[in-house]
C-alpha cells in the first residue's frame, strides 16, 4: 500500500567556524520500507534515531531531500499523486495530545476543521465530528463543546484519533501516540486503536520506543539506528530470531515481567554517536561488541535472512562472505543468532 524507497533528510546545522565546512545532521539516511494494506508496521529505536523525522517526511510536513514515496503504487509528486491527495489518505497522530489541539477551539470544531477544508458544509462537518467522537467512545453531547484543557490526557488523545480519522484516511501514522499516557490508559487506548483498525480497515504506522507495545500491536517491525534501518521483518522473527546485535541489545534492555530475572549489566553502554558525522561503515560499530575492521570499512546492506523472505538485517555478521570473522556461511541452513536472547 505504501512503499518508501531511499528516503533521506539531512538538516543543515550552522557551520562551526565562519567559512568552515557545512555541517549536516543525517537525520534519515536511505530508509526504505513498505506497508501492506491492513498491516501494522512498528518503528522502534532510541531517541534521536529518526523515527519522528521519518513520520514527518511521510506526511510531507518537512520535505525529503531524496527518496520516493508511493501510495497504492502511485508516485507522490510530479504527474502522480498530489500532496493534498496523499494527506487525505494518510493522517498522523502526534505524541503531545495537548499541543496537537488548538486550545481556543472546542474539540468538535478541531475535528470538523479537516472536513471543512475539504469542502464539507459546516453542518455536515459538525455532524461528522460528533459521529467520530462517538466512535472513539466519547459522548458527543458531553465532550464535543469542551476545550482541550477540560479533558484528561487519554480523552484528548482519543479526540486526536477522531481528528485524524475525520478525513477517512486509510493509513494512520501514530507517532508515539500512546507514549505520554498512563499505563492503564495506554492499554485502554491501544485496545480502542485495535478496534478502530478492525472496524474501519485501517493500516497503521506505529512509532514507539516501547518494545512491548510494538510487539503487541505490530505485524512487522522496523528497527532504526542513527537514521538507518538496521533490521526489519515480521514481528515474531525480529523479536525471537533477532539478527542484528543492536536489535538484540534493545530487546535485552526491556524490563522483564519475571521477578527472578535481573539484568546485571546494561546491554549497551553510552549514547548513540552524533548524527553529525556518524561513524564510517556500520553506524553501530562504536557500541557493538562484535565490531571488526570490516565494519569500519564497509557499510552493511540490508540482507534478507533465511528466517523469512521479509526478514532483513544490516550487519556484516549476517552477510555471507562479508569478511567478518563471525560472518555466516553461504547457504547455511540455519544460522544461530549473534547473541542469545535467553
Amino acid at each position: 500500500m505504501l512503499t518508501v524507497t531511499n528516503l533521506r533528510k539531512y538538516f543543515p546545522v550552522r557551520a562551526q567556524a565562519l567559512g568552515g565546512p557545512k555541517v549536516v545532521v543525517q537525520a534519515v539516511d536511505g530508509v526504505s520500507f513498505s506497508i501492506a494494506q491492513g498491516d501494522t508496521l512498528g518503528i522502534v529505536g532510541e531517541s534521536g534515531c529518526g523515527k519522528s523525522t521519518t513520520a514527518r517526511l511521510l506526511m510531507q510536513l518537512i520535505e525529503p531531500d531524496a527518496g520516493e514515496i508511493r501510495f497504492d503504487g502511485r508516485k507522490l509528486g510530479g504527474s502522480g499523486m498530489s500532496i493534498r491527495e496523499l494527506r487525505r489518505n494518510m493522517q498522523m497522530v502526534f505524541q503531545d495530545s495537548y499541543a496537537s489541539l488548538n486550545p481556543r477551539l472546542a474539540v468538535q470544531d478541531s475535528i470538523a476543521f479537516g472536513p471543512r477544508t475539504h469542502g464539507m458544509s459546516a453542518q455536515a462537518a459538525r455532524a461528522k465530528a460528533r459521529e467520530l467522537l462517538g466512535l472513539v467512545n466519547l459522548d458527543p453531547d458531553q465532550f464535543g463543546p469542551r476545550y482541550p484543557h477540560e479533558l484528561s490526557g487519554g480523552q484528548r488523545q482519543r479526540v486526536n484519533f477522531a481528528r485524524a480519522l475525520a478525513l477517512e484516511p486509510r493509513l494512520v501514522i501514530l507517532d508515539e501516540a500512546v507514549s505520554a499516557l498512563d499505563k492503564s490508559i495506554e492499554a485502554q487506548v491501544l485496545n480502542l486503536l485495535m478496534d478502530l483498525k478492525a472496524n474501519l480497515g485501517l493500516t497503521y504506522l506505529f512509532i514507539s520506543h516501547d518494545l512491548s507495545v510494538v510487539q503487541y500491536v505490530s505485524d512487522h517491525v522496523l528497527v532504526m539506528y542513527l537514521g538507518k534501518v538496521v533490521e526489519v521483518g515480521p514481528v515474531d522473527d525480529v523479536y525471537h530470531r533477532a539478527r542484528h546485535p543492536y536489535t538484540v541489545a534493545l530487546l535485552n534492555s526491556r524490563p522483564s515481567m519475571d521477578p527472578d530475572v535481573h539484568v546485571e549489566q546494561p546491554p549497551l553502554a553510552g549514547d548513540p554517536p552524533s548524527p553529525i558525522g556518524p561513524p564510517s561503515g556500520c553506524r553501530f560499530r562504536t557500541r557493538c561488541a562484535f565490531a571488526e575492521e570490516v565494519c569500519a570499512r564497509a557499510e552493511p546492506a540490508l540482507t534478507v535472512q533465511d528466517t523469512s523472505p521479509a526478514h532483513a538485517a544490516a550487519c556484516h555478521m549476517v552477510i555471507p562472505g562479508s569478511g567478518h570473522s563471525r560472518a555466516v556461511q553461504q547457504g547455511a541452513s540455519h544460522v544461530p543468532p549473534p547473541a542469545s536472547l535467553a
Partner: protein
C-alpha cells in the same frame, strides 16, 4: 506547534491555518502586551518630564506639573500631589484593562 502541523497535515491552506489556528491564539497576548505598554509609556514619559527631559513648560504634562508644583508642597499640598495621583490612577486603569483582556481572551479563565 503540533496543532498547526496537524492542520497542515489535513491539507488546509496557509490562509485558513493563519485565520483559524494562529490569529486567535496570538491576538490575546498581543492586546495584553499593548495595554501594558501604554501604562509603562505613561510612567516613563512622566518620569522624563519630571527630570526635565520631556515636555517643556507651556505644554500640559503630569510629570512637568509634578516638578513645578514641587515648590508649593507646603502651601497647597493637595494640589502638588494631584498630578502624581492622576498618573497612578491612569496607569492602574490600563493595567486592569490588560488583566481583564487576558481573562476575556483566554478560554482557560
Amino acid at each position: 506547534m503540533d496543532f498547526v502541523e496537524a492542520a497542515r497535515a489535513s491539507g488546509a491552506s496557509t490562509y485558513a491555518i493563519i485565520r483559524v489556528h494562529i490569529l486567535g491564539n496570538v491576538l490575546g497576548p498581543i492586546l495584553v502586551y499593548a495595554t501594558v505598554l501604554v501604562s509603562v509609556s505613561i510612567l516613563i514619559a512622566a518620569g522624563l518630564s519630571f527630570i526635565g527631559l520631556g515636555a517643556s513648560p507651556p505644554a500640559a504634562e503630569w510629570g512637568l506639573m509634578l516638578n513645578t508644583l514641587r515648590e508649593s508642597i507646603f502651601l497647597a499640598p493637595l494640589n502638588s500631589v494631584l498630578p502624581g495621583f492622576m498618573i497612578f490612577v491612569t496607569s492602574m486603569c490600563f493595567n486592569l484593562i490588560s488583566d481583564g483582556l487576558r481573562s476575556a481572551m483566554d478560554v482557560r479563565f
